[in-house]
Amino acid sequence: MSQSWRNDSLYRDGSLNPGRLALYAILFFVAIVWGVPFIWMFVTSIKPDTEVFRYPPTWWPEQPTLEFYTRLFESFPMLAWFRNSLIVAVITTSLTLVTNVLAGYPLARMRFRGRRIILLIILSTFLLPGEILLVPLFLGMVNFKLANTYFSIAVPAAANAFGVFLMTQFFLTIPVELEEAGRLDGCSRLGLLWRIFIPLSGPAIATVAIFTFVRSWNDFFWPLVISNTDATRTVPVGLAIFVGRGLSMRFGVIMASAAAATIPAVIFFLMLQRYFVRGISTTGLRG
């Protein structure tokens, strides 16, 4: 340990390098600025009422309590919101995976009429602000009596082109020789996709799955518009409408709700970090 520290350029030439020291100071500052809101949320959520507004702020309660977490689940249908979010995210993610893997294959590996124009139309939707879609989608769902269903929340989200783009990009990198070998063995197109492309595309498929799941889990505008009962309402919508507005209620409960919504996502992220990084860096799209 101490030996490798010596090799760090911080100590090059046997003395502290002021430029490197400044970089470490900035790095530390950045970590504090982005990390503290999480810590502060959690610490507030376990503070008894008497300590919440203490000034100057305290970083650990004298009498930590989990009372607000139990109260949270009594005051709000949090479990129903969680269940809804989970169902919606699973529907959107599975639909996205199946359709995008299928669509990515010909776009990457086949020559057919209309390929260029289809790619262009699909890619151009990245630049389309989705607000234009809200009214027609809403009226369509209401018209077909589909408002307040999982279908109406989950299925439109699967039209997003991000995964098609990513799968197309990834399938392009798979060597032609493998595909030709499969064809010589008499594989159909579907067989090629199933036996050669899908097994080789684990990382890309995982990236699409995780990315789509998180986007769906956090989606806000459309679920807010299309669901207005607790039977289908998702976590972000429930939080925004009942809990977070104006912070008028007791702080412990509010912070516990934010923490309850955030902690699973953070654990999920820490386990699967590299897939997020790949998803963003290949396509430039946020979840």
Binding site: R20, Y24, V30, A31, V33, W34, W40, M41, F53, Y55, P57, L102, A103, P106, A108, R109, M110, R111, F112, R115, R116, I121, T125, L127, L128, P129, E131, I132, L134, V135, P136, L139, V155, A158, A159, F165, R189, L193, V214, W217, N218, F221, L239, A240, V243, G244, F251, A261, T262, A265, V266, F269, Q273, F276, V277, I280, S281, G284, R286, G287
Partner: protein, 302 residues
């Protein structure tokens, strides 16, 4: 995006393009195309059509020509929402791009703990806007908020009523947004930095280039293609700002944070004036499209 475009004309495996081949290709794409047409393409077209109609939640649309647009241009509330959103775009988009780049440069340096710092900056990516709004309302709170406490320590007095005053509410929303979403741009720029061949820097160093010169003449030009899509995507996302405002201020105080997306939401789903909301959506689309074209022209991409 470039690699797809480049390979578009590459002959792919089978040489004979036949009708059968086309049918197979479309059969593969059919499930996605159905979703794409039903939930993206068709709604976009209907949305444009709806902007020329009077359309309530029930009943048939009536064609009214440009009347919705005329109403919007003469609506003080709508013009204010445009101004507010433009103000937000300026406050948030520039830091999102510049800071995203600088953070990428920072975590690209061979520093210890850089992976931990990168993960921490990235964490807000998985947090929903509702939770972000709740956390920042508390941090920005006037009398017991963390931010005002530390600003006070640094000598800023009296405490700022961040979300309560028209002057500071939009900057507060921008600060929240930057904390929440700068990580996306950071990751994209970081991927770009990792793709720049080290040999470029080495030969420049042999020629005696300084650190700043390396950044100015190698790093920034090499990242131009990436900026060509980071900038429009960031600006479009900023024009669409909604959730943060909905949770934290609901457009207030005194309408200072009332944005175009908020206008569309209230017009369509509170007042059920679907035609007018669609026209506002079309204007939003034209603004972002216009910006993208101008910017790509300026960068000589198109």
């Amino acid at each position: 995006m470039t690699s797809v475009a480049k390979t578009m004309d590459r002959p792919v495996t089978s040489s004979r393009a036949s009708v059968r081949n086309d049918l197979v290709a479309y059969a593969f794409m059919a499930p996605y195309l159905v979703l794409f047409i039903l939930f993206l393409l068709l709604p976009a077209i209907v949305g444009i059509y709806a902007s020329f109609t009077k359309w309530g939640i029930i009943g048939e649309p009536q064609w009214v020509g440009l009347r919705n647009y005329d109403k919007l241009i003469n609506s003080e509330i709508f013009i204010e929402s445009l101004q507010n959103t433009l103000y937000f775009v300026i406050l948030a988009a520039i830091p999102l791009i510049v800071l995203g780049f600088l953070l990428a440069l920072l975590v690209h340096q061979k520093l210890r703990f850089r992976n931990i710092a990168r993960a921490i900056v990235f964490l807000p990516h998985v947090v929903s806007v509702a939770a972000v709004g709740i956390i920042f309302q508390w941090i920005l709170e006037r009398s017991s908020g963390l931010l005002n406490y530390y600003l006070g320590v640094l000598g800023v007095n009296p405490p700022i009523n961040w979300l309560g005053e028209p002057e500071s509410a939009m900057p507060a929303i921008a600060i929240t947004t930057i904390w929440w979403t700068v990580n996306g741009n950071m990751i994209i720029y970081l991927a770009g930095l990792q793709d720049i061949p080290e040999t470029l820097y080495e030969s420049a160093r042999i020629d005696g280039a300084s650190g700043w010169q390396l950044t100015r003449h190698i790093t920034i030009p090499m990242l131009l293609p990436i900026s060509a899509f980071v900038i429009p995507l960031t600006v479009i996302a900023c024009w669409r700002v909604f959730g943060q405002v909905f949770v934290m201020t609901r457009g207030g105080p005194q309408g200072a944070t009332f944005t175009v997306a908020q206008f569309i939401y209230e017009t369509a789903f509170v007042r059920f004036n679907m035609g007018l909301a669609s026209a506002a959506g079309v204007i939003l689309m034209l603004i972002t499209l216009g910006f993208t074209v101008v910017q790509l022209r300026a960068m000589k991409v198109i």
